[in-house]
Amino acid sequence: MLKYIIRRLIIMVPELFVISFLVFMIMWAAPGDFLDQYRMDPSVSPQFLESLEKELGLDKPPIIQYGIWLKNILTGNFGYSFYYRQPVSKLIWGRVFATVILSLSSFFFSWILGIITGVFSALKKYTIWDKILTIVAFSGIAIPGFFLALLLLYIAANTGWFPISGMVSIGHDQMSAFERFKDILWHLVLPTIALGFGGFASLMRYMRGSLLDVLNEDYVTFARAKGLPERKVIYKHALRNAINPMITFLGYSISGLLGGAVIIENIFAWPGMGRLVYQALIQQDVYLVMASAMISAVMLVIGNLIADILLAAVDPRVRLE
């Protein structure tokens, strides 16, 4: 097991290296660079442009730029953002809180609700409740996240039940700690639903399917035959086995925790990573893009690894080699 983990971690290094190289080259190959917006402006002098180019290192060939970036990364320096004129690490760190809080809340929303409703609808198979939940699930899978977000926004704007944008109210700084908490929670509701609804729907379907599969297994029939109470059959025998495949999903969803959600964050003006990175991509703020892409890639790879490990931990039939 330990050997397996170490091997995976070692493979990870060249993989990340290639990813970073690819991303860098894509950024470089895109027409124009960060300074284009200044070049278009006639009031910016060519001398200034030249000095800026030198300062940002854009005058060097891309392979050297990449080399410098790689060297810096190894010493823990993520580089400078061209646009914000701040260290990338500081910028990202500033946004991590908002992103994580939104990701976590939608994560818990979709998982807790998804599993509960999934189990419920599997146990009430073919009843009216099951049908309603199925409709909800299919709608959740089919509705585009941004459309759901717009709809929620529309409802909020018309009823005034929820704030329509941002993470905090205007008077947030004057509030007591508890009020601040409540304030953020209040702002969190809509983005959480918009972000987590799709996940909730698919998790519910998976949970339902998986539990139904397990309930058809022989050992469940056997457990029933030997006279165990139904509650015990379901929660001790069936549910444990049904949850196993879900564990893999858990690993995958870890990878999304730091990525942010570009569109949802845009719609709700949530000050998270998604917006930062989207803007950086459009402005070709290379180092910012690189850093966030690397964070996402690392999270993805580690998430996959965790998924594998978790699966092996819960399911004794799976052996990692």
């Binding site: 993989e15 290639v18 990813i19 690819l22 991303v23 894509i26 950024m27 190959a29 895109a30 027409p31 299919f138 709608s139 899978i141 089919a142 509705i143 585009p144 996240g145 941004f146 459309f147 717009l150 709809l151 926004l153 529309y154 704007a157 018309n158 329509i164 944008s165 990878s255 990525g259 570009v262 569109i263 845009n266 719609i267 990175v277 989207y278 991509l281 459009i282 070709q284 893009v289 966030s292 892409a293 996402s296 890639a297 993805l300 790879v301």
Partner: protein, 896 residues
């Protein structure tokens, strides 16, 4: 016999059970209700995409700025109580400058007016009055208009002294207002001018007693220049009718009122003051007091105190007492009476009496107070010992009363002026909006409203309404471009003649082209616009025109250079884009209409003077009028679309019949967007993008995945290792970032068709890695099966084994997963377009259409912009249903 029958049925059953695999799958699929539902929805959606032109009542690209954010057009069924089938009214939607709300009005274009003297009909440019037609020469700019006085109610008095009145509700009036202003600026509408005389009566009735009172006040006082005031009043009447109250100087008017009232009071009180007081004189003064008390009542009514009184509010009582201080000074116990009254009202209220009745009671109380005041005055005069002191006292309190009265008058005046101002401003706003729209539709080449734009623009400069230097240069720009317009249109028509493949220009045509090109170059070279970008654009066009000309002049091998010449010509005909960019600048001119308050009015007057020929219907009673209605019909001819992308056709499934080409007549079943384009038509056209991108993307993805996964799984070993690492790396780059990054890799400003192709490739590039891994796994397992080994053993080449034996065994999986993957592409395209990275305006895609609803304000006021989201939703849902049903159907266990 019976045995035979049994055998027969057995055979039939036997046959039934041995259906082909395809039939079995279809059977299993049909059992899946949701799957069938999804299939039907998809069939409808795809039919919609295929017959998009046929289904759109409007051209999805045609802008109609007067309908910006227009809500779904209401369809009416009854007209004047009669069933008329489906019809719509002309409508307009605009932002009201003064309330900054978006408003939508149905406009009522008059078709006929019924007066006491007969029927006035207007149809296709001829106005008929009782059969006699009124001639007017449109080429001389003459027009005939209907014009209505704008008022809450219009009273008309006929010759024989009968009164007619048209009760206008507020909303109704506004509608008329629009029709009135709009028709004024739109050529082709015929109007009969009813303004001045009818307006006067209307105004008089509206000013009502107040106006008369003013006149009596004024007339009774010689000190005031009678003529002057008459004129003033006259002017006020007319102006108000035209909703132009700007020239009323309220303060001056107030002064006149108060002076007049004071002087008049003086004249009443003079004899009293001079000690010649008699009972009659006192009584006379008392009657005036009575009037004032009624004025108090009116004021209390205006200020809402009576309501408060009815509700038993003590504050109200005190307030009315203070309003009626003249009464108090005469010695009436106003407070006590009001308290009693209030108690009485409270009783009535609890017994459920109506408010109107209670108001009457209050009024009666005031009347009786007035009567009492007269009595009191006279009695007091008779009783008093010191008559002189008593009269002084009366004079004093009456003077106070006059002041009070003047207050009431002024208050009323202010209120009225306020109302007038509101209406006037509204009218002005509308005029300006019309002006803007007029300019816009001129600029964007719509078929209405030809030369007026320039006329108005010039006028604005001549009138010195606009001192913005840019404005002048913009108009100059526009003139220059207009002179180019004829040339490029000529070139375009030449191009149109032989731009078809295989047709080459004849020598004469070459000459024609050459002269046109030369003319263009000569003219264009001397042009300089105020905007640099337009200049550079023009320069590049000139360059390519010169290129074409060079090739043309080389003469001999004309045909050889044919294509290049054609290219050059195309560039020249793109001079249209210059026109458009200049026009875009001039739209700014139209916007000035909003920012310069006088502009609308001046343009209005000037235009009107030049074009109106009036028929004055003096003293004729207007009884009724008819409006033009526009029928909604099926299989109607309207805009030119292309049936099945190929056949030009004007027939559309439904639409509104618009014989007089009224630009205000539109049928938006799902509202309109910012530019007044029909949302439904755009949804239909956008479905082509959204529905095809999924399928094409899926085919490319699975093609890639099959090749990649197939090779990797089939050969295994080092090839497998390398290929799978590549796939893994692509999978490790977070999807959405990769999407945006790849999009950023490609230029932003390219036509929508190219973007479409790019999107397909980007979306498939992201999707293939995961699928190829699954296919690899399947191939690995199939590879070990006996029949594959057998195929290899008989010496088939690898490619054949892979194509014929291995990959076909993955079809079930492929079909199901392909169906379930399609929504991903649809959503991907929608998200990219939503972010502005995908399909670009003016082309439509569902995601792009949703992007218009981003703004919360817009969303709240035009929620119909969210409809495209529902289409995405149902499409994706249907694909999921069909995919699920297919999975069940293809599952060998369910095939039984």
């Amino acid at each position: 016999m019976a045995e035979d029958k049994k055998k027969l049925t057995e055979e039939m059953e036997f046959e039934e059970t041995y259906l082909s695999r395809r039939q079995l799958i279809w059977r299993a699929f049909k059992k899946h209700k949701l799957g069938m539902f999804g299939l039907w929805v998809l069939i409808i959606m795809y039919l919609m995409a295929i017959f998009a032109d046929f289904l759109s009542p409007h051209n999805p690209y045609e802008q109609s700025l007067i309908h910006s954010y227009a809500p779904p057009t209401p369809i009416h069924f009854k007209y004047k109580g009669k069933s008329m089938g489906m019809y719509v009214l002309p409508s307009v939607s605009f932002i009201d400058k003064f309330t900054s709300e978006r408003k939508f009005y149905e406009m009522l274009f008059p078709k006929a007016i019924y007066t006491d003297e007969g029927k006035y009909e207007i149809d296709n440019g001829v106005a008929r009055i009782d059969g006699k037609s009124l001639k007017f020469d449109r080429s001389k700019g003459e027009e005939v208009y209907f014009e209505f006085a704008i008022n809450k109610s219009i009273g008309f008095t006929t010759k024989d002294g009968k009164n007619y009145s048209l009760p206008f509700e507020k909303e109704y009036t506004k509608r008329l207002l629009i029709g009135y202003n709009d028709g004024l600026l739109r050529k082709g509408t015929v109007r009969i001018d009813l303004t001045v005389p009818t307006a006067k009566t209307a105004v008089l009735s509206n000013f009502g007693d107040f106006s008369k009172k003013l006149k009596t006040i004024v007339n009774s006082e010689e000190n005031i220049d009678k003529l002057w005031l008459d004129e003033k009043l006259e002017r006020i009447d007319v102006k108000w009718a035209r909703t132009i109250s700007r020239n009323i100087k309220v303060d001056e008017f107030k002064r006149i009122v108060s002076n007049g009232a004071k002087n008049w009071m003086e004249s009443v009180l003079k004899p009293l003051k001079e000690g010649k007081g008699s009972v009659d004189q006192i009584r006379e003064a008392g009657v005036e007091v009575e009037k004032m008390i009624l004025a108090d009542f009116e004021r209390a009514l205006d200020e809402g105190y009576i309501d408060a009184l009815i509700n038993g509010d003590e504050m109200a009582i005190n307030r009315i007492v203070s309003i009626s201080k003249d009464l108090v000074s005469i010695g009436i116990d106003v407070k006590g009476r009001l308290e009693k009254l209030s108690a009485k009202l409270a009783n009535l209220k609890s017994s459920g009496e109506s408010k109107a009745v209670m108001k009457d009671i209050v009024r009666e109380e005031f009347y009786s107070m007035g009567k009492e005041a007269v009595d009191l005055l006279v009695r007091g005069y008779k009783k008093s010992d010191n008559k002189k002191a008593y009269i002084d006292n009366v004079v004093n309190s009456l003077s106070k009363g006059v002041e009070n009265y003047i207050d009431v008058c002024n208050l009323k005046l202010e209120k009225m002026v306020k109302e007038m101002r509101y209406e006037e401003r509204e009218a002005e706003g509308i005029i300006r909006a019309c002006l803007t729209n007029l300019m816009r539709s001129e600029i964007f080449g719509s078929r209405y409203l030809p030369g007026e734009t320039m006329a108005i623009a010039n006028m604005l400069v001549n009138f010195k309404l606009i001192d913005d230097p840019n404005f002048k240069s913009k108009i100059e720009d526009y003139k220059k471009v207009s002179s180019l317009k004829a040339i490029y249109e000529n070139l375009q028509s030449i191009l149109g003649k032989f731009a078809k493949p295989g047709r080459r220009p004849s020598k004469d045509q070459m000459k024609e082209i050459q002269t046109a090109l030369e003319e263009f170059i000569n003219k264009a070279k001397n042009m300089k616009f105020s905007t640099e970008s337009v200049n550079s654009e023009l320069r590049s066009v000139i360059r390519s025109a010169e290129g074409s000309l060079r090739y043309l002049k080389r003469g001999r091998s004309v045909y050889y250079y044919y294509r290049r010449i054609l290219d050059g010509l195309r560039d020249v005909s793109s001079a249209k884009s210059i026109l458009e960019s200049v026009a875009a600048n001039i739209v700014g001119v139209g916007e000035i209409g909003f920012s310069y308050p006088k502009l609308g009015e001046m343009a209005f007057k000037k235009y009107r003077l030049e074009t109106v020929k009036s028929i004055v219907l003096n003293g004729k009673g207007v009884r009724d009028y008819d409006y033009r209605i526009y029928k909604v019909k099926f299989f109607l001819k309207s805009w030119k679309g292309k049936f099945l992308w190929l056949v030009p056709s004007r027939i559309h499934l439904f639409g509104v019949e618009n014989p007089d080409d009224n630009p205000y007549v539109k049928l938006f079943i799902m509202g309109a967007d910012q530019f007044g384009r029909d949302v439904w038509s755009r949804i239909v056209f956008a479905s082509r993008v959204s529905l095809s991108i999924g399928i094409i993307g899926m085919i490319i993805t699975f093609g890639l995945a099959l090749i990649f996964g197939g090779i990797s799984g089939y050969y295994g070993g080092i090839i497998d290792e390398i290929m799978m690492r590549i796939a893994e790396i692509i999978m490790s780059i977070p999807g959405f970032y990769l999407l945006i990054m790849l999009r950023a890799l490609l230029p932003m400003d390219i036509p929508s068709t190219q973007i479409y192709i790019l999107l397909v490739f980007i979306l498939s590039f992201i999707g293939w890695a995961g699928t190829s891994r699954v296919i690899r796994g399947m191939v690995l397992s199939i590879r070990r099966r006996e029949f594959v080994e057998a195929a290899i053993a008989i010496g088939l080449p690898d490619s054949k084994v892979l194509m014929r034996h291995v990959l076909p065994n993955t079809t079930s999986f492929l079909i199901v997963s392909a169906t379930l993957r399609i929504p991903g592409y649809i959503l991907g395209e929608a998200s990219l377009s939503y972010l502005g990275l995908g399909i670009r305006e003016p082309d439509a895609s569902w995601g792009l259409m949703l992007a218009q609803a981003q703004d919360v304000y817009v969303m709240q006021h035009a929620p119909w912009l969210l409809i495209p989201g529902a289409f995405i939703f149902f499409t994706v849902l249907s694909f999921n249903f069909v995919g699920d049903a297919l999975r069940d159907a293809l599952d060998p266990r369910s095939l039984g």
